[in-house]
């Protein structure tokens, strides 16, 4: 009798777990689906880095993205300030499975260098954003667990598939009434302690379809540093093609 009860409890528990997994995955898929079809976009960004003493350092960059359905997106990032890194750019081919392909262009010696995309957890240009926070968010890169629903917010826990990730988990809050856009992400480090919180704000609807935030604020609770990423514009009419995401294109900027 005991055994039967145990089995029932266990299967109920397993059922709940798998249900939570399914619901979490469904939400991530819904979010991806809601953002399908933007084809390509270009944005100018300002990045403001603040250390714990309040000292500020700024970066200006342009990001161009090409949407791919079969595989992960392609992106090109071009720095225009600080001036010593002006013209430095990176080309990334995101893959749904396996490591991304990434090239770096160094304008002073005109060199294109293939770089390892192994460094997911490292800081992007000295900011509180890790490379993995900024790379294309493919559904396949996480496993999921639905946590709760609060009004129009859906909270999902995500576990990175890649063991090289700097996180054990992320807790992502989606807004189901606004195209499943992300409102906040809490990042937990390898010791499962709260590391960072990312807050999206200033959302606008573009092309009647795509929600884009004007401001991303990343706060590191451990180092007390902060990085604000401001999107100064979004251009969904740039009509970029594969030709704009080649090593030749990387050299042009």
């Amino acid at each position: 009798m005991k055994n039967v009860l145990f089995t029932v409890v266990l299967s109920l528990a397993l059922y709940t777990v798998s249900q939570a997994q399914d619901r979490g995955l469904e939400i991530a898929q819904a979010a991806e689906k809601a953002d399908l079809g933007f084809k390509s976009s270009a944005s100018n960004l300002k990045m403001v880095l603040k250390n714990k003493n309040g000292q500020v350092s700024e970066r200006a960059l342009e990001v161009r993205t090409l949407e791919l359905v079969e595989d992960g997106d392609k992106s090109l990032i071009i720095f225009s300030s600080p001036k010593d890194v002006k013209g430095t750019s990176t080309l990334t081919f995101t893959h749904k499975n396996g490591p991304d392909d990434q090239w770096l262009y160094l304008p002073s010696i005109k060199r294109v260098k293939r770089i390892s995309s192994n460094n997911k957890s490292g800081p992007f240009v000295g900011s509180e954003f890790a490379y993995e926070d900024l790379s294309s968010q493919e559904v396949e890169k996480y496993t999921y667990k639905f946590l709760r629903e609060e009004n129009n917010y859906l909270v999902v826990e995500q576990y990175p598939v890649d063991p090289k990730s700097g996180y054990t988990r992320r807790v992502v809050t989606y807004n189901k009434d606004a195209g499943y856009r992300i409102e906040t992400i809490a990042f937990y480090d390898r010791k499962n302690a709260l590391l960072k919180t990312l807050t999206y704000s200033g959302y606008k609807l573009y092309k009647n379809n795509f929600w884009r935030a004007a401001k991303l604020n990343m706060v590191n609770h451990q180092s007390k540093k902060e990085t604000v990423l401001e999107f100064l514009n979004y251009d969904f009419d740039v009509n970029l093609t594969d030709d704009d995401f080649t090593q030749n294109a990387l050299r042009r900027n």
Binding site: L49, N51, Q55, S57, E58, S81, P82, K83, D84, V85, K86, P99, D101, W103, I109, K110, R111, V112, K113, R114, I115, S116, N118, N119, S121, G122, P123, V125, G126, G166, D189, R190, D243, T246, Q247, N248, R252
Partner: protein
């Protein structure tokens, strides 16, 4: 000097032809003007080997850059000047690093004028890189280049990228004057180096390159036919040095395989001319330990083997050597980074220790440290023994406008 003017005039002509094709230049011109000012201080650790040489060389360099784009960046004119003032009159020099018209259309692009092009994957030496002449008096690592007159056509296809270069004019390698460091016992005047070709610097050179990236593999295959960038030099006890630019064929191979934290690299050339045929090889790996203990710091370990079968006829010191180095990137707000390395001769005692470090100051300045130490240079090093008293430390402050 005359030859320089010829280059500028030909560039000007090429540009006006290129511009003539675009009868209506859009009003939407996009200008960008910049200036970098570099204050360099090089201090040599050992007393001079030759009369007139100094210990301390302060120096000033200006790097103005101008770009104008039109038709949404599909057309552009790119100019980068360079001028240095130094105690060594030969190191005081002016050059257009770039001065070219660029057109992009779909998957192809065309460049006409003076331009810099880099080929290669390895860190300690750049064997395959041949399009531009080295501005050898600028830096010991050979990474500073002179602008090369060219017509470059590049096309990107599903099978890779094809580049075709027409190089109508050869530029001579810069060499130090009598009071400069890194000189030979006999001063070779850059202009006195002879040519094998009867057309001298006007020998019409050609180059081709095919490059493709397939998954984790980056491949480059190249061919160059024309006047070599490296002078053929014979050191002679009686008459000193005989130097000449031979007409060469060079086949190049670049290969990089990126596997997680490992980057496996190989560069090889086969170069032939009437006087010599040889193989050069540079191969190794770079392994990066990233974000150590979540500090953001990356440490790269580089190991490369260098081989060149020219023996004493080589105009460099890398015949059978090993490079061990480490690249430390702090990934901090100031982009602090350090590259440390040592090239050790595997047959002789000679070692060259190198350090390069940089850190941004504020938002518009950068401080760079460079050092080269020549230690235990073997007596029978034909090339390197000339520089055994030229160990130096340099500190450069760059201001960006």
């Amino acid at each position: 000097m005359m030859k320089k003017y010829i280059i500028y005039i030909s560039v000007g002509l090429l540009l006006s032809i290129a511009n003539a094709q675009d009868e209506t230049i859009d009003k939407a011109l996009n200008h960008d003007l910049e200036l970098d000012i570099e204050l360099e201080n090089r201090y040599f650790l050992e007393a001079r080997a030759f009369d007139g040489q100094k210990r301390y060389y302060p120096s000033l360099a200006l790097r103005p850059k101008y770009t104008v784009e039109w038709k949404d960046g599909d057309h552009s004119l790119n100019v980068e000047g360079f001028v240095r003032f130094d105690r060594d009159g030969e190191r005081t020099h002016f050059d257009f690093r770039e001065f070219y018209y660029h057109k992009i259309k779909g998957n192809w692009e065309l460049s006409i004028g003076l331009k810099k092009v880099f080929w290669g994957v390895t860190e300690s030496n750049h064997l395959v890189d041949i399009i531009n002449q080295t501005d050898a008096i600028e830096s010991f690592d050979g990474e500073e280049k002179l602008g090369q007159p060219m017509v470059q056509f590049s096309i990107y296809t599903n099978w890779g990228t094809f580049d075709l270069f027409y190089l109508p004019f050869h530029r001579k390698r810069t060499l130090p004057g009598s009071i400069g460091r890194f000189r030979f016992p006999v001063i070779i005047k850059a202009d006195e180096v002879l040519y094998e070709s009867a057309s001298k610097e006007w020998h019409q050179d050609l180059a081709l390159r095919y490059a493709n990236s397939i998954n984790s593999v980056d491949l480059g295959l190249s061919y160059f036919y024309g006047t070599g960038r490296e002078p053929f030099v014979q050191f002679d006890d009686q008459s000193g040095i005989m130097a000449l630019y031979p007409v060469i064929h060079q086949f190049g191979l670049e290969l990089q395989i990126t596997n997680n934290a490992f980057m496996w690299k190989l560069e090889s050339i086969y170069r032939s001319n009437a006087l010599q045929k040889f193989v050069g090889l540079n191969t190794g790996f770079e392994y990066t330990i990233s974000n150590i203990k979540s500090s953001g710091v990356d440490i790269g370990l580089i190991l490369e083997y260098l081989y060149d079968d020219r023996g004493d006829l080589a105009f460099n010191a890398l015949q059978n050597d090993c490079f061990m180095g480490s690249r430390i990137a702090f990934n901090d707000m100031q982009d602090t980074s350090i590259l440390l390395g040592v090239i050790s001769d595997l047959e002789k005692s000679s070692k060259i220790i190198g350090i390069e470090a940089s850190r941004r100051l504020g938002s518009t300045m950068k401080l760079e440290l460079e050092g080269r130490l020549f230690t235990s240079i073997a007596e029978n090093e034909v090339f390197l023994s000339n520089f055994k008293k030229d160990s130096f430390l340099g500190l450069t402050l760059i201001k960006y406008f």
